[in-house]
Amino acid sequence: MINVKDTLVFQGLYYITRELKDFLITLGNIGYDFTKVLFYILRLRVNLKALIEQSSRFAVDSLPITLTIVGMTSIIISMQIAPELAKQGAENYIGMLSALVMIRELASIMAGFAIISMIGSSFASELASMSVSEQIDAMRVLRVDPVEYLIVPRFLAGVIMMPVVFIVASFTGLLCAGYVSKLTADLSLLNYIDSLWRGLYVRDIMIALLKSAFFGGTIALISCSSGYSTRGGAKEVGESTTRAVVWSFLAIAIWDYIFAALFYL
């Protein structure tokens, strides 16, 4: 007599249902937390001291790793493309292409990945540790809303500082691309800058800044929500942090697609 529960089909269905349930619960938590965050922001209930502190973490603390990742990526891409364009006699387009790629996509996405790894994981593990050690319960009992105290400043820091990180990252990326173009395609700095201006559009910059703000807010919200809703112990803290990172990566990929479809199709 076959026990249905032992069959592969049942176990597969059970796994899918369980993952779907976890997915919906996580989505629900994020949505609920976002509603509360919005409520506090619209009522101007923002702790300025905490906002400044989190903004400093978001931008300044993450800058070295962000610039390294963006710079390295820019160098690698330029090393591939610049010589090929030079071979085709199209070295005058190197700066323009660098600007288009960097401003439209590379700087914000790579900075986003760096921020997720460094700041997103930190937010998630911090809040998860607080949750499992009852610090968040203590806050509630003391009648201070943890969403207002912990999540609002982090969310706003992400929205405000991510565009700043994008600007610095873009500048670094374009600088690195220019340097590599000089080395590999023998392109002078003046020619590179001249070519660069032709690829810089105010519209692209504005869209990228807006997209960065969405990235920053999303990373902060997902990371905080994941950490905040943790129950259990060290294992669950690790799982929350992983979930925060994975969901953040997916979310910024989705936002990137939405922005590309809305503005560039």
Binding site: N47, M130, E134, Q135, A138, M139, L142, R143, V144
Partner: protein, 242 residues
Amino acid sequence: MTIKVQNLTKTFDNKKVLDNISFSVEDGETLGVAGFSGSGKSTLLKIISKLLSADSGKIETTRNSDIAMTFQYSALFDFLDVYHNIAFPLLERREFKGKYNKEELKKIVAQKLKIVGLQGIENKFPSELSGGMQKRVGFARAIVTNPKIILYDEPTAGLDPVSSTLIEDYINQLKKELNASCIVVTHQMSTITRACDKVILLYEGKIVFKGTTEEFLKGDNPYTRQFITASIEGPMEIKSTT
């Protein structure tokens, strides 16, 4: 009557953690809530402190005051020093914002630290304190708004006997200082004996004893006898999940 709990029921995953619980705590009284691990003691405190909601039942409090709670592992904010931990509600709650200047806050924190015998440690962080000191800072934080209802979740857990005695003395002292009504969740006999006026014993979510501490210690209720003598034999079954 300060706290009146009526017909409280709470279920987790189809298991009744609290089953039709009713009791009251009068002004200036300390109620001990005893029971095995998993009997619903901490859940009861979390419902009274509004961290959780009950499935059914009612909780009434007659005194218009904060409900303060201390946690088993202190739950101090590890990113704040002792001063900011204690002053936290006065700094962050809307009704207190701007009410006290820096000097007044310093005085209040110093006063609360003096009550728990920890003067001068305002600049230390929780990680620099012993377990007993962390508990006392937790007490100081809980009483900073002068609450009339204080809930203690296993206040002496993990402490040596001397530190436990100190904590039990502070529970009595705080009750007198604030004229507070207290509920102490514990399975330590010394805490029940030294700090509680009356006791309820929980087993599988139900109250199996309700009475004064003297009745708890000297009565012939089989549940209390088994609990006091720490015996495996008796009406209370020790499950492998507890």
